[in-house]
Amino acid sequence: MTISIDPQKTNNESLQPKGWLRYFSFSLDHKVIGIQYLVCGFLFYLIGGTLASAIRIELASPMSDFMPRDVYNQVLTLHGTIMIFLWIVPVVNGAFGNYLIPFYVGARDMAFPRLNAVAFWLIPPSGLMLVASYFVEGAAQAGWTAYPPLSITTPQSGQIIWILSVLLLGGSSIFGGINFIATIIKLRRPGLKLMQLPMYCWAMLGTSLLVVLSTPVLAGTLILLSFDIIANTGFFNPVLGGNVVVYQHLFWFYSHPAVYIMVLPAFGLVSEILPVHARKPLFGYTTMVFSIMGIVVLGLVVWAHHMFTSGTPPWMRLFFTIATAFIAVPTGIKFFNWVATLWGGKISINSAMLFSCGFIINFVFGGITGVALAQVPFDIHVHDTYFVVAHFHYIVYGGTVFIIFSSIYHWFPKVTGKMLNEKLGILHFTITFIGFNLCFAPQHWLGLNGMPRRVAEYDPQFQFVNQISSLGALLMAISTIPFLINVLLSMRNGKDAGDNPWNALTPEWLTSSPPPVENWEGESPLVEEPYGYGKEISEQK
C-alpha cells in the first residue's frame, strides 16, 4: 500500500520563509532539512578537525607540553564525540538521506515531515551544549567511550552534559531512522518495486534498522551511567558493587553497529556515484542488497571484539572472532562489485570519481586490518594502541568522509544548479589523499611497537614517526581550504549545470536543478532501471 501526499497539505510550505532564510527556519521541506544537516555537520567537522589538529600538535613532541593533561583528555573526548555524533552520523544519514530518499521512492517529502524537522533541530543545541561544557567545569574527559569508573570519577558537570548531549543526538538519530523506514516502505510511488530502488535506499533501510534496534540500548546505558554519577547508584560503580564490564557490553552493543551506521550509507552513496561516472550499470544489484542485509545481521553480534582484553571467557572471544571476520565476506562482495562496475566502463576521471576510488583503496586497507584485529591473539597485543586508531580512521575518514566529499562533488549541481570547479576539486582530492595516508599509515607501526592510544606523552623513540603523522594532519587541514573556496565561489559564479549534468538515470536528476518545492512539476517519474546505462543506446540501434 502506498500513501499519496495531499498536495493541499504540503502547500502550507509556501507560508515558510523563502531564500536563504529558510535554512534557519523550522522548514518541513526534506531538501531544506538535508542541507541543514549537511552545513551544520560540516561546521562541527571544522570544530572536530581543529581539535584533531590540537592533538597532532601535542603529539609532535614526546612531552606533554602543548596543553594541560586534563585538557588533552577533554580534547580527545570532544574530537571523537563530535566527529561521530555531529558530523558523520548526521551527514551520511540525515543530510543525504533526507535529500535523496524522497526522490528515490518518488515521494514529495518524507513520511513524517514535522518529526524530520524536530530530528534536525535537536542537533545544533546538543552540539553547542557539548562544546560549551568546556567552559563550565571542563568538558567530559573519559574518552568518547565514557568507561566507568573513570567517567564517574572525573568532574561531573562535563560528563553529565556529555550524556545529555549524546542522548539528544541519539534521539534525533532514532527519529530519523523511523522516518527513513516509513518513507522507504510506505511512500514508494505506485508501480515501484523494492528491488528497483536505488542502492542507497537499501543502505538506508539497513542502517535505520540498526539505528532503531541499537540506539535505545545506548540511551538506557547512559541514563544508568548518569544515575551512577548524580544519584550515587551502583549500576557500574565497583565501589558500590557495580560491574564495569557490563557497561562495556551495553555500550558496544550500540557502538559497534554505530560503525555500520556510519559506513553503510557511504556504501549506498558510492553505489549511486560509480555507475553514473563509469557509465555502466551497478554490478550485482541483488548480491549488493543481500550483502547490506548480511552486514546488518552480523553487525549486531560482533560487539565484544572491542573487549578482548577485558574480562571475557575464552569461548566468547572465539565466537566474536569468527562473527567479526565473517563481516569481511559481504563487505568484500561489495568491493568486488564496485571494481566490476568500473571494469569496461567509460570512466570520467573527475573529483567525485577520484574520491570514490580513494574510498575503495582506503577502505580495503582498513578492512584488512579489521580482519586482523578480529583475531583474538592478534588483538591482544594491539588493542588500545595507535594500531586501532589507524584502523578506524581508515574506515571512518578514508572510507566515509571520502564518500561525503565525493557525494558533495556529485550532488552539488543538483542542489545549487551550478558546477563545482574540477581543478580545485582534484587539488582537494590530491592533498586529502596524500595527507590522510601520511597521517594514519605510520600509526599502524606506532601501535605495533608500543604506543598506546589516548596519551599526551610517549616514548621519545616514536617522535620521528609521530611528526610524519602530524605533517599528514597538517596537509589534511590545508586540504579544506581549496574545498571551501571551491564551494563558496561556485555557489555564486559556478558554471551553469543544467538539470542533469552527468546524464544520470536515478530519479533525483529527472527534475529541474535545483528541484521545485514539490520535487516534480507533475507526477513523479517511474524509474524501473536506475542503473540502465548502456541499454538505451543498444535499444535505439
Binding site: G311, I333, L342, G345, I361, P377, H381, H444, L448, E457
Partner: protein, 267 residues
C-alpha cells in the same frame, strides 16, 4: 585471449612474489621476549602476507580500471550494459569465506598455543578461594615448559602507578623483576579505574579492572629491560603511567629477591 590470461597470471604471480618478499623481509614488530611473542609473530606474518596480496591486488585493479577504461576525448555513449555475473559473484563469495574461515581456525590454533583456551589457575594458596570470581586473561604455557616453579605476583594498579607485591618475600616493588624462562603468574586488581597491563615485547595485554581480579600468565625468554605500559585511558597522567619489567638470569633475580625480602613478622 591466451595472451590476456598469460598477463593476468603474470601479474598475479608478481603480486604474490612482492607480498611474500615484504612479508618475510619487513619487520614491523618489536623484539620477541616471551614464549608468546614468536607465536604471535607467526600469525602476524601470515595475516600480513594475505593482507598485502588483497590490498595490492585491489589497488592495481582500481588504478588499472581508471586508466584502461577512462573516457577518451570525444567519446560518447555508455559502457557495456553488464549487470552482473552470477558465477563470478559466487566465486568471490566462496573464496573470501574460505580464506576467512581458515584464518579463523588458524588463529584459534595460535590462541590455543598461547594457552588462551586453558583453564587459568593462579598458584597461590592465599588467593585460590573458590568464592572469589577471577576473570580470564591470557595464560601462557607451552608443552615444553621450562619453568617448574611458578612465580606468583600480585599486581595492583592505581592512578598512575603499578605496584608489584611478591607475597613470598613479603615486599612490594615498583619495578617488576622476573627470572628468565620461568613461568610468571600474576593476579591483577585495580584500586580505582580500569587500567591495562601491556608489555609490547611480550605481545600480551590484559585489562586491570576494579572489583574483578584478572589473571595473566607469561614466560619471559630474553634477558633485558622492557616497558610496562598502561593501555586503558585512566586519567590525565595516563600517558605517564609506565613501569619497567626487568628480566634477569635466575641468580641475579635471587640476589635481588633476597635483598628485598622482609622476614616474616611474628605476632
Amino acid at each position: 585471449m591466451l595472451n590476456k590470461n598469460i598477463y593476468l597470471i603474470l601479474i598475479i604471480s608478481v603480486v604474490f612474489a612482492i607480498s611474500f618478499w615484504i612479508g618475510f623481509n619487513v619487520n614491523l614488530l618489536p623484539a620477541e621476549a616471551s614464549i608468546n611473542a614468536p607465536i604471535y609473530d607467526e600469525l602476524f606474518k601470515i595475516l600480513f602476507i594475505i593482507g598485502l596480496i588483497i590490498f595490492i591486488g585491489m589497488t592495481i585493479a582500481v588504478i588499472y580500471s581508471l586508466f584502461k577504461f577512462r573516457k577518451r576525448n570525444n567519446q560518447i555513449g555508455d559502457g557495456i550494459a553488464l549487470e552482473g555475473n552470477l558465477s563470478l559473484e559466487i566465486v568471490w563469495t566462496i573464496i573470501p569465506s574460505i580464506i576467512v574461515l581458515l584464518i579463523g581456525l588458524y588463529s584459534y590454533n595460535i590462541y590455543d598455543r598461547m594457552g588462551g583456551m586453558k583453564e587459568l589457575n593462579h598458584n597461590h594458596e592465599m588467593m585460590s578461594s573458590n568464592a572469589e570470581k577471577i576473570w580470564a586473561g591470557i595464560s601462557q604455557t607451552s608443552d615444553n615448559e621450562i619453568a617448574i616453579n611458578n612465580l606468583s605476583i600480585e599486581v595492583s594498579a592505581m592512578q598512575f602507578a603499578f605496584l608489584f607485591n611478591y607475597p613470598k618475600g613479603n615486599f612490594i616493588s615498583g619495578e617488576l623483576h622476573v627470572p628468565v624462562d620461568h613461568k610468571v603468574s600474576m593476579k591483577m586488581e585495580s584500586k580505582d579505574v580500569i587500567h591495562a597491563f601491556w608489555v609490547p615485547e611480550f605481545r600480551i595485554k590484559q585489562d586491570i579492572i576494579p572489583g574483578q581480579p584478572t589473571i595473566l600468565n607469561f614466560t619471559p625468554t630474553k634477558v633485558g629491560k622492557y616497558p610496562i605500559i598502561c593501555a586503558e585511558l585512566c586519567g590525565p597522567y595516563h600517558g605517564g603511567m609506565r613501569a619497567s619489567i626487568i628480566v634477569e638470569e635466575e641468580s641475579d633475580y635471587n640476589e635481588w629477591f633476597n635483598k628485598n625480602k622482609k622476614p616474616e613478622v611474628n605476632l
